[in-house]
């Protein structure tokens, strides 16, 4: 399946885009998404390790299964307030 990953702040700077397409096997989870990201951009491994991920604007755990209709985002350490 094809998904679009939304990127913000330092993640957007690192990947150079605010949104990147990723091809994942059907039934892939957030954990699989992380592995695919690190494979694509090995220098992002450290940042990815400190990021959370959201599915449909809610924080998601590593074992959450993804589908192509989900809105998926990578959330670097937050600094609001």
């Amino acid at each position: 399946m094809n998904i679009e990953l939304l990127l913000f702040a330092s993640a957007k700077d690192l990947f150079g885009e605010s949104q990147i397409p990723l091809k994942l096997p059907t039934g892939a989870t957030i954990a699989d998404l992380k592995s695919a990201l690190i494979k694509r951009q090995p220098e992002a491994a450290s940042l990815i390790g400190r990021c959370a991920f959201s599915v449909d604007q809610q924080y998601a755990t590593d074992d959450m299964e993804l589908n192509p209709n989900h809105e998926i985002a990578m959330i670097p350490p937050v600094s609001g307030g």
Binding site: A52, Q57, G80, G81
Partner: protein
């Protein structure tokens, strides 16, 4: 009132939004841009956020606070874009029947917002250098 806005925060409107004859205590917190942090000068802050998720998270934070404390009304407003020195980046207002709850709830909301709202800031220094402030990993 839950807002994520590019406009300057109208603190009076935020405070008025929680006013009610049922409350005896009203707390407004404003987080403002501080000029010096550990000797390092800041010229301005720039905020970016994942807008649709910010609004969802702020609503969740408000709902959770209203379950934990006897809150009459609660408003949370956060800015994005450029925030000048001494301007507010965030406003939290709560009204409660009694004093202690208003302080505890407002402080908890701020703390939780800083841990969970998908918002990021970058500070601009006098030499033009700018970088993302190292934030809190969401767990």
């Amino acid at each position: 009132m839950i807002e994520f806005t590019k406009s300057p925060i109208d603190s009076n409107a935020v405070l008025a939004s929680v006013s009610t004859p049922d409350a005896g205590a009203n707390v407004l917190f404003l987080g403002t841009t501080r000029q010096f942090t550990k000797g390092q000068e800041t010229v301005q802050l720039d905020y970016e956020g994942y807008e649709s998720m910010v609004l969802k998270e702020l609503k969740t934070i408000r709902d959770t606070a209203m379950e934990r404390w006897p809150i009459q009304k609660c408003s949370i407003v956060h800015r994005f874009g450029t925030v000048a020195l001494a301007e507010a980046s965030v406003a939290v207002a709560v009204s409660t029947p009694h004093r202690a709850d208003s302080f505890a709830a407002a402080e908890w909301i701020l703390e939780t917002l800083k841990q969970r709202a998908p918002i990021w800031k970058r500070d601009l220094r006098p030499d033009g250098y700018t970088e993302w402030v190292e934030g809190n990993p969401v767990t």
